[in-house]
């Protein structure tokens, strides 16, 4: 009997350790609930999101200030991104959101450049000014055709 109590306690500790591991991964890595919900959402519409995925970084002045929460195609066949921006980082209403590439592997991120306006965007607002992904093939072909004339 006594031995069974001991086993019961060890099993309890084991299960607890497992649950702590799961919760730590959920909160810290997956940002499920809790931390993931913090921040406020802004929308931005691009004609070409260039392979942006949920989870990609949102950067301002080279600093990560949030992440892409959702990527969908809207009714006008444009890419509509929901950005989750950290609380305490205001974005001006005339800010420009652009799809950029970092590193040689070509990983995409959203760059936000602040404008000069005094008015700040509220949660759920849309960033009007956007720059789509720069498509290198398009650039090259444009160059070739323009130089050919």
């Amino acid at each position: 009997m006594n031995e069974y109590k001991k086993i019961e306690m060890i099993v309890g500790a084991f299960v607890l350790a497992g649950i702590i591991s799961i919760s730590w991964m959920a909160v810290k890595l997956g940002q499920i609930g809790g931390l993931g919900a913090s921040g406020y959402a802004l929308n931005a519409v691009f004609t070409d999101a260039g392979g942006m995925r949920a989870g990609s970084d949102v950067m301002m002045a080279g600093v990560v200030i949030g992440r892409v929460d959702n990527v969908v195609v809207n009714e006008r066949s444009q890419a509509r991104l929901t950005l989750l921006i950290d609380d305490g980082i205001p974005v001006t209403s005339d800010a420009i959101a652009s799809v950029r590439t970092k590193g040689i592997i070509g990983e995409r991120y959203v760059r936000i450049s602040q404008g000069g306006d005094d008015e700040m965007l509220q949660a759920g607002d849309e960033i009007e000014e956007t720059e789509s992904a720069i498509n290198i093939e398009d650039l090259v072909s444009k160059y070739i055709f323009s130089s050919g004339e």
């Binding site: 086993i7 591991s21 997956g30 499920i32 993931g36 990560v64």
Partner: protein, 267 residues
Amino acid sequence: MSDQVVTAHNGFERLLGRLGRKALGAVSWLGDMASVTGSSLALIFAPPWQGRHFVLQLYALGVGSFVIIAITGAFTGMVLSLQGYYTLAKFGSESLLGSAVALSIIRELGPVLGALMLVGRAGSSITAEIGIMRVTEQLDALQMMAVNPQARIILPRIVATTIALPLLVSMFDIIGLAAGYVVGVELLGVNAGAFTGEMIAKVLPEDLYAGWTKALAFGALVGSVCTYIGYRAVPTTEGVARATTQAVVIGSVGILMLDYVLTSFFL
């Protein structure tokens, strides 16, 4: 000449016949396993409640497998970090190391290696134990004492592996990530912020769900395959030895096959 044709024809027919018998054998084996596992699981709500036996099995199979899982996790994280670093460094993208290590471990290696370790450590002992109970008529003795061996012996073991594996895999993941961090950041000099930042940014809830679902499925697979093979072991010493080997082989191959199915499902 025509004789040869006939022999070749007969040979081919024999081969087809053997193939057919093998396939039928495999199907009826799977069917029998499903019926034993299913009827055992159905007893989970039938009195008497086997709580005490779940706890004992969780101890034997779960806690007992922790050390081997921890060691496997640590070395997996370390080697992934080392290997990943030299590959990524060629492209100047060492900063991606954290996410590469984390995604490999969480989506694939944690569940798969954890399950393989569980088959080797706990699965083989489940099969041997039940097989010995079969040889020594302990299963019949339970029957005679009006205790259903499916409820008392099989069910708690399947439940224990199914619950234990997700817990063990989460521990494997965290130990693996920590070991990967030590090698990547402390030994190879990757920027600490880049390592953890990339890791956190790239691991999405979907990746965690994929890993946990796999762990749950593999745990159930290990439990049902190993209990079934032990339960149906030929009641001789040789039969138990063969069943134990078979459980590890079928369990391991089953894990890898199921992994492919689940991965293609989650992508």
